[in-house]
Amino acid sequence: MSYPDSIRIIQLPCTGKVDVIHLMEAFQKGADGVYVVGCLEGECHFLTGNLRARKRVEYTKKLLDEIGVGGERLEMYNIAASDGPRFAEVAREMDKKIRAIGPSPIKVALQKISTINNVTVGRAVGGE
């Protein structure tokens, strides 16, 4: 029951805690894809946390489309807490999907900018 090592898990008490800004910041920091895994619909311990999370995910997808990052990089899944095999399956599915889409333009830009900055620093040091 293994899942790809590209996946980094951020634990929350309930997906109802997920806000638009959390998803946006993940992409801002260079994530190629993000998916939110909530409990099955109708089985939220806090009643509507996972339903709210889905609506926020949908809203954020539109924002990502608007800025050209691509809403398809963000998804929401509902998996029962006891369903490990499905969790691993979704992780592989998401990993495959994001690899097919390719790296996030934000990550690419961040890497380019950091390379340029490093080169500039290197030259400055070399010049001295």
């Binding site: 800004i21 946006m24 801002q28 800025i67 050209g68 990052v69 830009a109 961040l110 380019k112 900018i113």
Partner: protein, 222 residues
């Protein structure tokens, strides 16, 4: 409250496309309540703009501030010491706040991030609807507390018109006919006789037709 919604990001990006350092200013009043320009929306806009710039391999430095109100001088003064550091300000207040800030800070461009829509209520979570047009002569006393100026498409003072069908307006089947609402409420209040009284022609000079309006209260002036 004044209800607004965020402009399309493309429009905001166009305003600031040549900037390197901007200040995004939110407002803690109406636009916070309608989830358009409060602290959270400032953070989301900042993140979206940074990513939009990064995608073009440009870096945009953003400072986020949310003032108590942008329609009051004392709160606008809170950014006086820092505002000169920026190439532009993006205000997430209603049109009132944006204009007042532009009046107070003459040397820096102030851009609106919102489209200001109406004075309204939160009908339910995530749903806002218009209730007042600020006509300057409130007739709610005669109309059972339901405003035909803001809620009737024709702004009829003695309605309903022939377009009212089964309590709905002809312009939209989802829209309640304001005059049907008025009649129903007058009936409930046992005041249906008031419906027989004609409301006289309204003096629209107190509305926008009379030009921009102003109130001066000498007892409060310094």
């Amino acid at each position: 409250m004044i209800v607004a919604e965020r402009k399309p990001l493309d429009e905001i990006i166009e305003f600031i496309k040549d900037c390197k350092k901007i200040l995004i200013v939110g407002c803690n009043e109406c636009v916070t309540v309608c989830y358009a320009g409060g602290k959270k929306e400032v953070a989301v806009l900042a993140s979206a703009l940074k990513m939009a710039f990064l995608k073009e391999e440009k870096e945009l430095e953003i400072t986020e501030v949310t003032l108590e109100r942008q329609c009051d001088q004392e709160y606008l003064e809170e950014i006086r010491d820092i505002i000169d550091q920026y190439d532009a300000v993006v205000s997430m207040a209603c049109g009132v706040g944006v204009q007042f800030m532009a009046e107070k800070y003459l040397s820096i461009p102030i851009y609106p991030a919102l489209n200001t829509l109406f004075m309204g209520v939160t009908e339910e979570r995530g749903v806002w609807a218009e209730r007042c047009q600020g006509c300057g002569q409130c007739i709610l006393g005669q109309t059972a507390g339901i405003c035909p100026i803001s809620r009737c498409a024709k702004r009829l003072l003695n309605g309903p018109c022939g377009g009212s069908t089964k309590g709905k307006c002809e312009i939209n089947k989802e829209l309640d006919c304001a005059w049907q609402l008025i009649i129903d409420r007058l009936k409930e209040l046992g005041r249906l006789d008031d419906y027989e009284k004609l409301i006289p022609i309204k003096d629209w000079s107190t509305e926008r037709s009379g030009g921009p309006r102003r109130i001066v209260r000498e007892d409060l002036q310094q």
